[in-house]
Every structure is written in C-alpha cells, then in structure tokens.
C-alpha cells in the first residue's frame, strides 16, 4: 500500500514537471495556426502566417546565415572538443592540467554576456593591430566554437571514460600503429558521442543570441537576432511559425538520431555476445 502511494506520487510529480516543460512549446505550435492577427485570441485555423513567412526575406536570410554558422561551428567544435577530451582522459597528469580542465569547463557556466564582451574587446584590439578580422560570419563562428567546444569536450570525455583502455592496448599488442589504433579502434567506439556532440553544438549555435549580437557586424544578422528583436517589441505571429518549424525539424532530427544510436548500440551488443560465444567463453 505504502509502495503504491510512493509510485503514485512519483507519477504525478513527473507528469507535472513534464507538463511544465512542454506546455509552452505546445502552445506555440497551436497558436501558429491561428487565423487572428491577435496572437493570443483564437480565430480559427489558418496557414496565413506560414505564407507570410515564406515572403519574409529578413528571416530567410537570417536562417541561411545561421545554418551556415551552425554547420561550421558544429564541425570545428567536435574536432577541437574530441582532441581536448582525449588529452584530458589519456593524460592524467601534465603541467597545467587543472588549468586546462578549468578553462575547458568554464564556458559552460560563464554568463554569455561576459564571454561575448571579452571576445569582442579582444577582436577589436586584434583588428586594430592587424586590420583583420572584420566582424561577421568568421567572428561569430569563432565565438560559437569556443562555447561549442566546451560542450563537445564534456560529451566525448564521458564516453571516453566509460571506454575500456584494454581495447586500445589489445590493438597495440596486435601491431597497430598509433594512428591505426585511433582511426580503427578509438574513433569508431566514440563515434556516437561525437555524433551527439555535433548535434548538440549545431543546435546550440543555431540558438545563440547573445554571442552573435556582440560578434556580428553590419550585414550579418542571424535568425535568433531577428527573432529576438521582434520578440522584444511584443508578440508577433511570425515568431510562432518560425518556432513551430524549428521545433518540428529539431524534434524529428533528435528523435531520429537517438533512434539510430539506440539501434547501433543494440547491434553492437549482439555482435559482442556472438563474439564471446564464438571464442568459447
């Protein structure tokens, strides 16, 4: 009886938290089909805001730039993050390890206004000294990568820590060169973590307002900046439609990716079991 009461509480609590997390998103989606120009009063179903969106050149240009930056950011962060994670897990002790770990971790929590401001001040002084680089795509990419790298490092690092070092040692014993060990053993084993880190940094960059606002120059307005400036002025139906489309795309992408990852994991578990059987254990 007591146990049942406990389970009931846990169900109710989890239900409430999930409702809290999802209610705003569902409202956004529902209201994007609203026919009325008043965002919050219902005037029947309509697709008129989607039509308006298709003609909205400001948002479309912003979306293009954002996607471009997000793609570049995700690629760069994953490479740098993987290298940093390898260094942090492989080498338990080297001069400045604590400093390095701290530096990799701190962009995770450091308020973005501080990162943005300090990056900008540095870029401005560099620009003054060398006349390069101009603010724009490059500088936004740079800033986003700094942030994305921190997230990628954490994701890849946790996977590396779970991984058994014996696998790499076995490959070395069997005569693999270090680069072979890396590309044939380590990389495939952490590929899922790399995949999810890529997705995470991609969405992170796609979403960022503060860093972009500090680092963008004239003519490089990303989609979040457009949305933010409209949301600041008040409620706008165009934001709802953009929201619905992003939620849809991201939702499908994430669910699909995690489904693929789960399937691969299962496949690998099966293969491992088969290998054990074959070896007669």
């Amino acid at each position: 009886m007591k146990l049942n009461a406990g389970r009931a509480t846990s169900f109710v609590w989890m239900g409430l938290v999930f409702a809290f997390l999802y209610l705003p998103i569902l409202t956004l989606i529902l209201l994007s089909f609203n026919a009325s120009p008043m965002v919050t009063s219902w005037g029947g179903w309509s697709l008129r805001w989607y039509e308006a969106l298709a003609k909205d050149s400001e948002i479309i240009a912003g979306a293009k730039l954002s996607l471009e930056i997000a793609f570049l950011t995700a690629c760069a962060s994953v490479v740098l993050g993987t290298l940093a994670a390898l260094a942090l897990t492989r080498f338990k002790r080297f001069p400045g390890r604590t400093l390095f770990a701290g530096m990799v971790n701190s962009p995770l929590v450091m308020p973005e206004v501080i990162i943005g401001l300090s990056l900008l001040l540095m870029l401005v002084s560099v620009q003054r000294a060398f006349g390069f680089p101009d603010r724009g795509l490059m500088t936004i990419w740079f800033g986003h990568t700094l942030l994305g790298m921190a997230y990628a490092t954490v994701v890849v690092q946790s996977r590396l820590q779970e991984m058994s070092p014996q696998l790499e040692e076995a490959a070395q014993d069997l005569g693999c060169r270090p680069w072979q060990v890396f590309f044939l053993v380590t990389l495939p084993l952490i590929s899922q973590a790399i995949g999810s880190a890529w997705l995470l940094t991609f969405t992170l960059s796609l979403d960022d307002v503060v860093l972009s606002a500090f680092l963008s120059g004239p003519g490089s307005t990303t989609m979040p900046i457009v949305i933010f400036s409209r949301a600041r002025l008040g409620l706008s139906p165009s934001v709802n439609t953009v929201a619905t489309l992003t939620v849809l795309v991201v939702g499908i992408g994430v669910v699909l990716a995690s489904f693929l990852i789960a399937r691969n994991e299962r496949k690998r578990a099966l293969e491992m079991a088969a290998a054990y059987k074959a070896s007669g254990n």
């Binding site: 997390l21 770990a101 701290g102 501080i114 270090p178």
Partner: protein, 280 residues
Amino acid sequence: MVFLLIFFLLPFLVVFKISMSEMDNVIFKDFFVWADGVLQLKIKLGNYLFIAQDDLYFETYLSSIKFAAITTGICLLIAYPFAYFMARSPADKRPALLMLVMLPFWTSFLLRVYAWKMLLADHGVFNNMAIFIGLIDEPLKMMNTPFSLVLGMVYTYLPFMILPLYANLVKMDLRLLEAALDLGATPLQAFWRITVPLSKSGIIAGSMLVFIPCVGEFVIPELLGGPQTLMIGRVLWDEFFSNNDWPMAATVAVVMVLLIIVPLALFNKYQAESTARVRS
C-alpha cells in the same frame, strides 16, 4: 607508448594553445583596458570608483544574485524529487525519460522564453482562459514582474539541474539504503542521512550550473522581466549597446566575474571530483 604520447600530445598542444589564447580574453579584457596607457588607467579606476559609489549598480548586483539564488532554490526543489524518481524508475524506461527531459533543451531556448511571454501576457493565454472560465474578472498582471522572470529562469535552467542530479543518483549503491533500513532507520532518516549526503556533489554541480549563468542572464530578463527588474546582464548590455560606454561595460563585467569566481571554483572542484570518482 611513446608513439601514442607524441601522437596525442601534438594535437593536444594545438588545442591547448588555442584554448589558452581564447580563454585569455576573460583575463585579457582586464589588461586591455589597463594596457592602453596611463590615462586609460585613471579613467578605469574612475569607473571602479563609480561602481563602488553608485547605489544603482550595487542594488543591481544584489538583485541579480537574489533572483539567481531564488531560481536555484526552486530548481533544486523541483528537480531533486524528479531526478530521484527518475533514477528509481525501471531501467528500461530511463532512456525514454531522459530523452523527454533533454528534448526541450534541444529546441530553441529563445523561442521557449518567447512562449512564456505569450502565456503570461495581460491578454495572454492564461488570463484569457481564466476569464473565460470565470475564475477572475480582470486580467492578472503576470508579465514583467519578478514572478515571470523567475518562472522563465526556472523553466530554462531546470534540465541543467535535473541532469547532474540524475547522473549522481542513478549511480548510488542501493544496498547502502537497505543496510540503513536493516539497521532500523526509517525511510525518511535513510533518505536524509544516506541519499542526500551521497548526492552532495550532484547538488552542488547542478546548483552552480543554474546559479552562475542566471546571475549574468540577459535574454530572459529582457523578454520577461520588464523594466523594473534589475539584472546585471542587462546593465552590461545597455552600457555597451545603448550608451556605447565600452570601458564601463568592461568594468561591470570584471566585477561580475569577481562575484561568480567563488561559485565557479566550487563548480570546477566538484566537477573534477565527480570525474575522478568515475575514473577510480
């Protein structure tokens, strides 16, 4: 092994160098304003004096910390039971639950904050509904209040609290609880004296993960907070973009860094500790 060392060390050194030069900026900004010359140095000190003497800045820092602390507290109250139940749920359901927690985090943060604006506005969804049902006659003032600000921050940062707590609680050895119960502890005692102390590092990591970004939060106060709520992130933004007073903005930032350096160190310490424990 030597090959391995060289092989990993080289790319690592490159990363190290890059992240050094990148992270240096946080310190760099300090030098930048100072290094411009003696004259700048004086102006700079003047800015610090100004901040120290001006009540408005002091109040803003204080209220930023207050709002961040309230948000952290509420997040912890909601997230702890949640993470606990999640960690105790059947193992085959956990990935799906985790997925559900992560999913809002993947969708745009800006848009989720905007959604609250729509729900809470004077003629927003909640007010319209309540009036329609007959619960209230006049629209309740919910937008642009401390309430909407804290709500938005709790909403945004809740997953950041749930995830470290969950990761911590799910690893806990349940036999310890059984032992406590066998030795005559009531479930409540067992919870307070076994579960909570064991999850300390999760609690601290989660709290810092919420508290530190909240102190400097800009987007949420700007969209949900209204003009009366003072947050330091907004002051910095205004100094920079509206007043174009870059040295002042830099000063505000340096003081903000000083404020969060203790929580930051705490975070790094517990982060390092928990990873060390995973390793051993």
